[in-house]
């Protein structure tokens, strides 16, 4: 199994993500710079971490979505390689058209960093296998633009197909997201975007390890098919 972390100027949770992947898989991910147009064939999981790519100027993720490296990631995703976008990574995937919907400014109009509860709505995915359906996990959020929106018809289809993977639970929706949506995946099930930061809750120093399951799922499945 091999994972890769995308590094774009302004992303700032790349180091957190590298640390999490290294601790959970025992192996450091490779890094991919903004100008790269080819991703090694043996990479099975590409992670776009959080931050403020290109300062989030224009619109969160909008500039990043148009960088050469995103074309390469799209091609890999089309071939079935798993792609996980967290926070700014989620915003980039949405802007790149790899996931439906949009992420608007939080209803509070403020940046929010706190712990929330997530319901694992779909545990039958490459990213959530380690959890049980309906399980409630703890997870921190840290964002200014996490208010998910999608049109009703698309949402209905996504719900039917189990593409809504995480929902904020127990009244902890921190941003006004439609239907409490915290994370969604694409139709093929190999691209997941989520606003919360599972990489910041993976060990006792973080006060818990509820976030571990996402990486364990993504990496374990890779191990099984490798």
């Amino acid at each position: 199994m091999k994972s890769a972390v995308v590094q774009l100027p302004g992303l700032n949770r790349d180091r957190d993500m590298i640390a999490a992947l290294t601790k959970i898989s025992g192996k450091a991910p490779i890094t991919i710079w903004q100008t790269e147009t080819e991703i090694p064939d043996d990479v099975d999981l590409i992670v776009i971490p959080g931050g403020f790519s290109y300062g989030d100027y224009l619109r969160c993720g909008a500039i990043a979505a148009r960088m050469p490296v995103m074309q390469a990631i799209k091609e890999k995703a089309d071939k079935g390689v798993k792609v996980l976008g967290v926070c700014n990574g989620f915003q980039i995937l949405v802007e790149a058209g790899m996931l439906p919907g949009a992420l608007m400014r939080n209803t509070s109009l403020k940046f929010v960093c706190k712990e929330v509860k997530l319901e694992v709505v779909n545990a039958d995915t490459d990213f959530t296998r380690a959890y049980a359906k309906g399980q409630i996990i703890r997870c921190p959020v840290a964002h200014h633009d996490g208010n998910y929106f999608v049109d009703p018809e698309t949402l209905a289809g996504m719900e039917d197909r189990g593409e809504v993977v995480f929902r904020y639970a127990e009244g902890t929706n921190p941003n006004g997201s439609l239907s409490d949506i915290a994370g969604v995946m694409n139709r093929q099930g190999n691209v997941l975007g989520m606003m919360p930061h599972p990489e910041n809750l993976i060990e006792s120093a973080h006060g818990g390890s509820d976030g571990r399951g996402i990486f364990a799922s993504a990496l374990d499945v890779v191990a099984a098919t490798a």
Binding site: P9, G10, N12, R13, R15, D16, A19, A20, G51, F52, Y54, G55, D56, Y57, K110, F111, V112, C113, K114, P140, A142, H144, H197, E199, N200, A205, H206
Partner: protein, 735 residues
Amino acid sequence: MTIPNSIAITPELVASHGLKPDEYQRILDLIGREPTFTELGIFSAMWNEHCSYKSSKRWLRTLPTKGTRVIQGPGENAGVVDIDDGDCVVFKMESHNHPSYIEPYQGAATGVGGILRDVFTMGARPIAAMNALRFGAPDHPKTKHLVSGVVAGVGGYGNSFGVPTVGGEVEFDARYNGNILVNAFAAGLAKSDAIFLSEAKGVGLPVVYLGAKTGRDGVGGATMASAEFDESIEEKRPTVQVGDPFTEKCLLEACLELMATGAVIAIQDMGAAGLTCSAVEMGAKGDLGIELDLDKVPVREERMSAYEMMLSESQERMLMVLQPEKEEQAKAIFVKWGLDFAIVGKTTDDLRFRILHQGEEVANLPIKELGDQAPEYDRPWVASTPREPLPASKVPAPSDYNETLLKLVGSPNQSSRRWVWEQYDTLIQGNSLQRPGGDAGVVRIEHHHSKALAFSSDVTPRYVEADPYEGGKQAVAECWRNLVATGAEPLAATDNLNFGNPEKPEIMGQLVGAIKGIGDACEALSFPIVSGNVSLYNETNGVAILPTPTIAGVGLLPDWQKMAKVGSANEGDVLIMIGVDGSHLGSSIYLRDILDSLDGPPPEVDLDAERRHGNFVRSLIQAGQVTACHDISSGGLALALAEMAMASGKGMTASLSEQKGPLHALLFGEDQARYVLAVKADLANFVQATAEGAAVPFRKLGKVGGDTLKIDDVVSVSVADLTIAHESWFPNFMA
């Protein structure tokens, strides 16, 4: 077309540059001719209070700055302290008060940006930030607007840059109505053998400009330039700079990458007085001259004059002296990160600061006199008059202790700051072990199995006003105590001295008194000052702020698994108070917030007791014998217990029957050198016996359990009610 440098130097122009007639005479004597306009600007930038510390330098020299762990004391971009294993912590605190009042978002944002740059200029990756914010009265019409803008600005910059905010202070007082305080702290981690300094070395070496382009923003920010001469500067551009955290993040990565190549000889960030101050400091420190060619400076505006370029405070810029053979490698790194890289000058052997612009020499000044030989004053000062003692027997007791406690936990100054710190990224980097809301923020050291650093920022301005010397001592002692309360060994501190106009002897007396107090406390607690900043002239319409010498300290935890938190008390734990019974109500929160009085002297700090009690508490925590710990400060024992109960989500039953004195003084007295510990029941006797053996005063208070805070038969409030009161004030205020 050339831009003129030949403006007539009139007395008005000199005055509008903030230079006194005798200072101007000194300039004339020094260079033997009338200065050019650009030169006048350079002098005003270098000799103003902010850059030269001319009023405070004499007193700052008295502070203890050395210690076995101190690698770099004051005088560089930040202080450097050894934390073993070849690691060191680099930190400093700096004010951005005036800009934040004028433009709260950008003022606060660039304050954060400036302090982060100070830290990574030295080769350290920032790992923690704090900020001490002081606003006017909550009901003042500007306060909400300022709180909202400053908090958003601090978050906007720090969150985007990617450093966790782990602590700080937010206070309200009418004395800050016209002059808020924004003190920003940052700490970074580096290797002790890879620290970068600003002292230039070697003649004929390239001086390189890095980072963002130069614009007209912030021209004269450090001096407030001449309205009479060039109204366009004041009218068209604010003196407040605009921050770009994205560029700063790229600058951080590029600088650290470049430093790793061994190409950097000296580096200095461009802060106050931008290009002028950074170039002069590098040259003056290295006993070298500097020649700059302004035509090579990357600019983002057209037709900038030499004066404007030299005084611009555009953000996210650095100046560096480079190994010439590594120039290409260095340039490639900056191009990769999309940043400007330009050779703008060279070091020389003539000790002159020469500026070329459009083929003309627009300034030629002696570099040493500009820098480390700037004017220095011994300003007249008068000591504050000591206040009459205020015995607790003369202070009325509350009729209802429950109501009083609820009022205190829900008051503007004692209520929860969650509304503020939830707008800051407190988790990024994945190393935050204690977030804001406790005694100190704690961050573990990456790649080490057990080490962590604790950070706290403290000062009690009402104490400093009542007695500058005791107040100065107390600021240091409380910071030291907050670090100890986590189990950390306090290592060193940085000071951010915010005062009024030093030309008034009573204000100068406050500054002198506070520095003496800080010095004595730092000496007694082995807690040297390794960096700092002075902000004077914090006055509006002749009314000064409360004297506010903010102290931010750093402590080392050898094993974070054993650290104590305010909120980790468990059911059945025994509560033990360390220190004397509460007795002192002068200048207390009880007096101010319940009785509406500012009377009485502040509590005296017995530095010997402080040290003994602190060392005792730390040894217990480091031995893993404490489950929760909290220091007793503003609001006394009652507030300390309430805060522990709320943070732990558990009730407590305490009795003061062993204690001597009036009840309201036992509960609300602000005597120093005190802590509340929660220990496992089977360790309680051992802890008490150990305290007795160490001659540390203690009292067994009671037990953790249930859902109500009960103190004898006078206090009985549910933790839920306390929490509602505590958490409600801020969101309601800002709603």
